[in-house]
């Protein structure tokens, strides 16, 4: 079942949480809502689940206007970030609770709980109490309780945020498996770019209660239509070099000049050149492309990769390079960096709108 939001607004006091949101969550698709804290992600999810009523605008679920429908009429399962398990109940009873409320027969309850528990690999914990579980196990129980209801739409609010790094890594796989096996519509809020990239087919970038852009996740990552997305959606953060457009289609800054294919030039001609850390590399003499120099500031080994921070230009701005883990230039070493012009994206300094790509 698909979900459609039209011009949804919601204020808490005088502060607008959602400021005219249009959004589409297609049938049987995994959509992430990505944004910084305070972007309005939770409010958006709660409106879809029916836990909040918008001040204005409409909410359609499966083609029907559900703006004012109570949660139980929506066939939406909502898993909150701050989950609360019933401490006096066993894991089994916690998971079974939503089915008991709906007066399922006992045999059916047993079967469904076991199925979901097996799926989330907590079937050996069913007799335990929540206090006897680790944080990750408790989170899985909360997710199981959400899944057991068999809705056609599942709404998750940052379910992995407070978990250990390694558990997050495992759970990412579990969410994908769930969606692939059961094929429901999933709406998932997160502030972690790697999680959003790894999980979702579609993405909605939210900031300050407004949709910045939306679309196919890889497409949005590769060519954002807005500078905000470029600078926030990705890890390590994208590089940005300010400059201006001269003589028609040449971008010029203190580091380099490059020809570009522009779709529109801002009036003041001030633009920023941006590129992803994985698209720039330390290069040798024979590199063909845009080349500039700098001095190594920090080398940060983060696991299977290193991030090399290089100071460039008069103001010592930082360029981030995502390199293999054995890439270890010395501190203060002078290095040459190279990038293909097609990997550069240009945005207006004025309003952050997309201006064009490098190359011709």
């Amino acid at each position: 079942m698909e979900v459609l939001l039209k011009a949804v607004r919601k204020k808490f006091g005088v502060i607008p949480a959602l400021d005219g949101v249009d959004a589409e969550f297609p049938h049987q698709t995994f959509t992430c809502i990505y944004g910084p804290p305070g972007a309005g992600k939770s409010t958006l999810l709660r409106i879809i689940a029916g836990l909040e009523v918008p001040d204005s605008g409409e909410v359609f679920v499966g083609g029907k206007d559900m703006t004012f429908a109570p949660p139980k009429e929506r066939n939406v399962s909502y898993i909150a970030q701050e989950f609360a398990l019933y401490p006096h109940m066993s894991v089994f009873q916690n998971i079974a609770y939503p089915l008991r409320l709906r007066k399922y027969p006992e045999a059916a309850i047993r079967e469904k709980v076991l199925q979901v528990a097996r799926f989330l690999k907590i079937d050996k914990l069913l007799d335990r109490r929540p206090v006897q579980l680790s944080g990750g196990e408790q989170q899985r129980v909360a997710i199981a309780r959400g899944l057991v209801k068999e809705s056609s739409i599942y709404v998750f609010d940052e379910p992995l945020t407070n978990l250990d790094y390694k558990i997050r890594e495992d759970m990412r796989g579990e969410f994908r498996r769930f969606q692939r096996e059961f094929g429901q519509t999933i709406i998932y809020a997160t502030g972690d770019p790697v999680e959003a990239l790894s999980l979702s087919e579609r993405i909605i970038i939210l900031n300050g209660g407004k949709v910045v852009e939306s679309g196919d996740t890889r497409q949005v990552y590769r060519q954002p239509v807005n500078l905000f997305t470029m600078m926030h959606f990705g890890f390590p953060q994208a590089n940005v070099v300010p400059g201006e457009i001269i003589s028609g289609d040449i971008f010029s800054c203190s580091l380099f000049s490059v020809k570009c294919a522009l779709v529109g030039i801002p009036r003041d001609k001030k633009v920023v050149c941006t590129f992803r850390p994985e698209d720039v590399a330390l290069v040798g003499e024979d590199f063909r492309g845009v080349v500039f120099v700098g001095r190594v500031f920090v080398v940060d080994v983060i696991g299977s990769e290193s991030v090399v921070y290089v100071r460039v230009g008069e103001n010592g701005e930082i360029i981030r390079i995502l390199a293999e883990r054995n890439c270890r230039p010395g501190l203060d070493e002078n290095v040459k960096m190279g990038i293909q012009p097609e990997k550069m994206l240009f945005y207006s300094s004025l309003d952050g709108s997309f201006v064009g790509k490098g190359g011709s």
Binding site: S134, I167, E169, R176, L197, G234, E278, G303
Partner: protein
């Protein structure tokens, strides 16, 4: 200045739960050591024992050779930063920072100077210093907590997962700051985390803990490249090491059989190692970034599998590859067009990147 030594430290809670077991560890002066492990591994308890907030059930804690086990936290000259930062909400940020210096007989000019230095070190914008601590965001609050620790100039800094409750942007900024501070301040740092990337980035030495025990303690590169156990291989890395059960078959060459596939291997020591263990079975460990993937069979890429899922994570892709019926491995590489979901692929493991473990997960070596 402090060299910290833990001698056979054991901590038992409620007479039954052994949180830390017979821990021996030396933290050299002015080094940054990360205690890394999953929830419940005993890392926080170990740090609290170093701080003097927990008394060990057995064993001793030494600072520069001197037994400090009976000393309380306030007598040890250590400063701690917690996961949930403690700031006084009714005081201004300036007052919060200056507080540790009050009552020490310092004149106000000296205090002002020390606060200004810390403000500069932590890149706290000057215009927020008069604000009440109750009105600031979590990132700045953690900065103030760190500032309160460094302003005292203690011998030892202890950090307990200081970045866990911050959003990605604040986390990256503070990570850089802590790394910079650890070099600039030149004191002993002990840093507890569950996040392998924080440990890799920050530490001179990583202490990996599991079930209350120290399972490996070494330079980050050694721990990463030469894990002592499958646990360490899995816990470090994003994602962790792949493990495949394998059988050695000898003909003219030596082969490793993995499921239905087998491939030639030239690890001279392997034969000897397995013979010593009286087995022909072992576990092969290989990190995802070292797995070679090719759309066609070629030298060094001869194990057939199918790509069941391509996980896009931005700068890299993770190819989930199935070999035979049951084996699944991950390969990490630059995004590439020639490998698609559902496609037949060939993988290879470079000899020098293969690590061999016993069936119970302990590294085999001569």
């Amino acid at each position: 200045m402090a060299r910290i030594e833990l001698q056979r430290v054991t901590k038992v809670f409620n007479r039954t739960v052994e949180a830390v077991k017979e821990l021996n560890m030396v933290i050299d002066d002015k080094k940054v050591v990360c205690l890394l492990g999953p929830s419940g591994c005993g890392k926080t308890t170990t740090m609290r024992i170093i701080a003097g907030l927990e008394e060990p059930t057995r064993g001793r804690v030494l600072f520069d050779g001197e037994d400090v086990t009976p000393l309380r936290a306030s007598e040890r000259d250590v400063a701690m930063v917690f996961q949930f930062p403690t700031v006084y909400p009714h005081l201004s940020l300036y007052e919060n920072l200056a507080l540790p210096l009050c009552g020490k007989g310092l004149d106000s000019a000296t205090i002002r100077k020390r606060v200004e230095l810390v403000v500069e070190q932590l890149k706290i914008p000057g215009n927020v210093l008069q604000r009440k601590a109750s009105s600031i965001d979590p990132g700045l609050r953690q900065k103030i907590a760190i500032g309160r620790a460094i302003i005292r100039k203690p011998k030892v800094f202890l950090f307990d997962e200081p970045l866990t409750n911050l959003d990605a942007t604040a986390r990256a900024e503070l990570m850089g700051l802590i790394k910079h501070l650890s070099r600039e301040v030149g004191q002993t740092f002990v840093y507890v985390t569950h996040d392998q990337s924080e440990a890799m980035s920050l530490a001179d030495k990583i202490a990996v803990m599991k079930d209350g025990q120290l399972v490996q303690y070494d330079d980050p590169d050694i721990v990463y490249e030469f894990p002592e156990s499958t646990f360490v291989g899995w816990f470090l890395g994003n994602p962790g090491m792949n493990f495949l059960r394998a059988k050695v078959e000898e003909e003219k060459q030596m082969y490793l059989r993995i499921g239905p596939e087998r491939f030639e291997i030239t690890l001279p020591a392997l034969q000897y190692l397995l013979r010593k263990q009286c087995t022909s079975e072992c576990v092969v460990g290989i990190r995802p970034e070292y797995v070679l993937v090719s759309p066609t069979r070629r030298e060094g890429c001869s194990i057939e599998g199918s790509c069941i899922f391509v996980e896009f994570i931005g700068g890299r892709e993770i190819f989930h590859i199935r070999i035979g019926e049951e084996i699944e491995i991950r390969a990490k590489a630059f995004p590439r067009e020639d490998i698609q979901e559902g496609q037949r692929v060939f993988v290879g493991f470079p000899d020098d990147k293969i690590r061999i473990f016993s069936l119970d997960g302990i590294v085999l070596r001569d």
